[in-house]
């Protein structure tokens, strides 16, 4: 791409003095008392100068016109601070940035909403605060109300809205901004499932419209589908910057405090294996590490392992990890006491039929563990990406809520529900 740079950040650094943060809300009396104390002790900076905190540390990058860039990293990595600095809400301690174009920042849903005012009034107020012109808001008003689906209540004070309606209207205003550069902070994780999908679709629309976007999210699936490029922040600094697939893989691997994805790592130092090279290789069947299944479909893991030395026995394990890094399910042939003994070989085929694992829709990564039957010797963090798509598993007429709503697992128990006083043996009435 040879388009113009829209956002250029050079060495952005933001330092907070922790002591300054602590006294920030204090009263004049405390300040005076503090000053007196300092005079008394004779030194101005005892503990103060030490308690500094770098929220951003020398962050540099360039975003070109029309690029949609994901910002990922754990909480406290500096993502939000970076957006705040670029939005001119707070100033950097050093470094500089330039932004070429009209900017809209979306750091929370409902910025400027005033509970006492009606939906209509809030659309105009919030729109103006987010940087829209009055005429622009008026022109898109119907579209906004439509998108939010609150047309009937548009003249009701928003304090009487349900939280879902409130959030929908607030997002709708923001979604109809038309700036050249947008900063968006984790605002998609709102509303019900249907609305979340609508938001993502809208975001995708916006992204395709040639807007330059910096997008913070913990929803790696959303980042992956919206942003071709991602920047991974850790401790205020840029760890990786590049194609989202690679950067996310790196992030997921890092989350596990381990090496990069795909590469194996030694766990146990068994002489038999590590002598010479300790390089194991994993070859996925169909040469694809991306597994795609519908909710409720059987999941099969199939791959070939190449060991540095001939082995007489091989054991394998897998660990399913959610996109937020939680371990969902572990499995191991070794724990199940399944022995795969054969003539010495350097290549082993592994097939793991997980069956109908009750995973909700979402993305997961699968770590693969390889052992010699007695202990694990190596593992491949995030060897596979597993994406589970929504599906009406039980034929209920609606898909199951995704991982973000129901957690990683679904379950369909047998319910017994009846008014108190009657017996709970009304299965035919309830089960239908």
């Amino acid at each position: 791409m040879s388009s113009d740079p829209m956002i250029v950040a050079e060495g952005l650094t933001k330092e907070y003095r922790l002591s300054a943060l602590q006294v920030s809300h204090d009263t004049l009396r405390d300040q005076v008392a503090h000053a007196v104390k300092r005079l008394w002790r004779g030194s101005a900076n005892d503990a103060e100068s030490e308690s500094r905190f770098l929220a951003l540390n020398d962050v540099s990058f360039t975003v070109r016109e029309g690029e949609v860039v994901g910002l990922i990293g754990r909480n406290g990595a500096g993502k939000s601070t970076l957006l705040k600095v670029l939005s001119r809400i707070t100033f950097p301690t050093s470094g500089s940035a330039s932004i070429h174009g009209r900017v809209a920042s979306l750091l929370e849903v409902g910025t400027g909403f005033q509970p006492e005012l009606s939906g209509r009034e809030n659309v105009f107020l919030s729109g103006a605060i987010l940087g829209m012109r009055k005429a622009e808001i008026a022109r898109r008003f119907d579209e906004i109300v439509d998108f939010a689906g609150v047309a009937r209540f548009i003249d009701t004070p928003v304090k009487r809205y349900s939280s879902g309606m409130y959030v929908r209207l607030a997002f709708a205003v923001a979604a109809h901004l038309e700036p050249e550069v947008m900063f968006i902070d984790e605002v998609l994780a709102v509303g019900d499932v249907g609305f979340q999908k609508k938001c993502l679709a809208k975001m995708d629309d916006v992204a395709r419209g040639g807007r330059t976007i910096l997008f913070v999210s913990h929803n790696l699936a959303a980042v992956r589908s919206l942003c071709p490029r991602s920047i991974f922040l850790r401790g205020g600094g840029v760890v990786a910057d590049g194609p989202s697939d690679q950067v996310i893989a790196r992030y997921v691997a890092e989350y596990d405090e381990s090496g990069p994805r795909g590469a194996c790592e030694r766990i146990a130092g068994d002489a038999m294996f590590v002598e010479g090279s300790d390089e194991f290789f994993l070859y996925p069947a169909d040469q694809s590490t991306a597994l795609q299944v519908l909710c409720g479909e059987p999941i099969v893991l199939q791959f070939e392992i190449e060991s540095p030395k001939p082995l007489v026995e091989l054991s394998a394990g897998a660990l399913i990890v959610s996109s937020s890094g939680e371990r969902i399910a572990g499995m191991s042939s070794k724990v199940q006491r399944i022995r795969a003994v054969g003539r010495p070989s350097q290549r082993w085929l592994v097939r793991c039929d997980m069956g109908r694992l009750p995973l909700n829709a979402g993305t997961y990564s699968v770590d693969v563990y390889i052992g010699n039957g007695a202990m694990d010797v190596t593992r491949f963090p995030s060897a596979f990406e597993l994406s589970v798509t929504e599906h009406d598993v039980f034929g209920w007429g609606n898909s199951l809520p995704p991982q973000t709503a129901w957690g990683p697992l679904y379950w369909a128990p047998t319910w017994h529900i009846a008014a108190s006083g009657s017996t709970l043996e009304l299965e035919e009435a309830v089960e239908r």
């Binding site: 009263t27 809400i89 100033f91 605060i129 050249e180």
Partner: protein
């Protein structure tokens, strides 16, 4: 999963957009008047919001704008006019008091609202960028609506008491402007200070109360001893109130030299306030 993207609309096709420079906060503060001007619509919406929200879900709504100064006037008339027999420059005391209360009520409302304005709008300041100056500015402008309503009441009272205004009434807008400028000048300091020192929020009602006694709201300036007169007239609100009475009721005009000095004082406080506000503006979001 890869998503193909349609080609971007070049921003250059829309005319080269403005470049926003973000740098560490150092060097002298600057006032970006152009930026302020491009945001006049937002100013309008902020004022509009203040006005809308103020009387939402109240039984008599904007009636409060009249009721507050009216009650004060009645009390003043009873206490100062009757009991203390404070002179009123030959005018019926109620009209005299009300003509003073009119600008004072505005000034007091503007000052108390704008003094706390940055803190009460903290949620905006930490989430979105716009010229921060708009916040105290809108808080100073919004009580003007109450002021105009009250002005109508003053006109009715003048008719009732048969007071005919002179040509001087044409100068009224100038005094309104001075009142607004004084309120804004002080609130630049107070609102910015309040971000760091919440004490200011406590001090403002107190300041307003003291201010009323050192301004000729309940009594005429002519009651002030001659040798203190000049010092007294440096108070911009004394100039404003005397100006109002002069313009509406035809009393003696405010002292010209004193007026000039107090205008200069407002200008100095205003400019200093701008510099201070600009300097502190950079840390609002970190501190508020």
């Amino acid at each position: 999963m890869t998503v193909s993207r349609s080609p971007a609309v070049p921003a250059s096709a829309l005319g080269r957009p403005p470049v926003i420079q973000i740098k560490a906060a150092d060097g002298p503060a600057t006032l970006n008047l152009r930026e302020l001007a491009t945001n006049w619509e937002l100013l309008y919406f902020l004022v509009w919001r203040d006005i809308k929200v103020r009387y939402k879900q109240t039984a008599i709504g904007a009636g409060w704008a009249i009721l507050q100064p009216l009650t004060t006037m009645v009390i003043f008339t009873a206490v100062f006019g009757r009991l203390a027999s404070i002179p009123s420059d030959g005018l019926p005391y109620p009209v005299f008091a009300f003509a003073g209360l009119l600008p004072w009520t505005y000034f007091a409302a503007a000052l108390s609202r704008s003094g706390n304005s940055l803190v009460s709008n903290g949620n905006l300041i930490t989430k979105v960028y716009f010229p921060r100056l708009l916040i105290p500015l809108s808080a100073v402008l919004s009580p003007l609506v109450d002021f105009i309503i009250t002005l109508g009441l003053v006109a009715l009272m003048m008719m009732w008491y048969g007071v005919v205004p002179a040509v001087a009434i044409l100068t009224l807008p100038a005094f309104v402007l001075l009142a607004a400028a004084s309120a804004l000048a002080l609130s630049l300091w107070l609102s910015a200070l309040c971000v760091r020192y919440r004490d200011v929020g406590v001090v403002i009602p107190f300041l307003v109360q003291i201010g009323m006694y050192v301004s000729p709201v309940a009594y005429p300036t002519s009651l002030v001893p001659e040798r203190w007169r000049f010092l007294y007239s440096v108070n911009p609100m004394a100039v404003v109130i005397d100006g109002f009475r002069w313009a509406l009721l035809g009393t003696a005009p405010p002292d010209l030299f004193g007026s000039a000095v107090s205008c200069a004082l407002v200008a100095v406080i205003f400019y200093g306030g701008l510099l201070y506000f600009n300097r502190v503006e950079r840390v609002f979001a970190d501190v508020v």
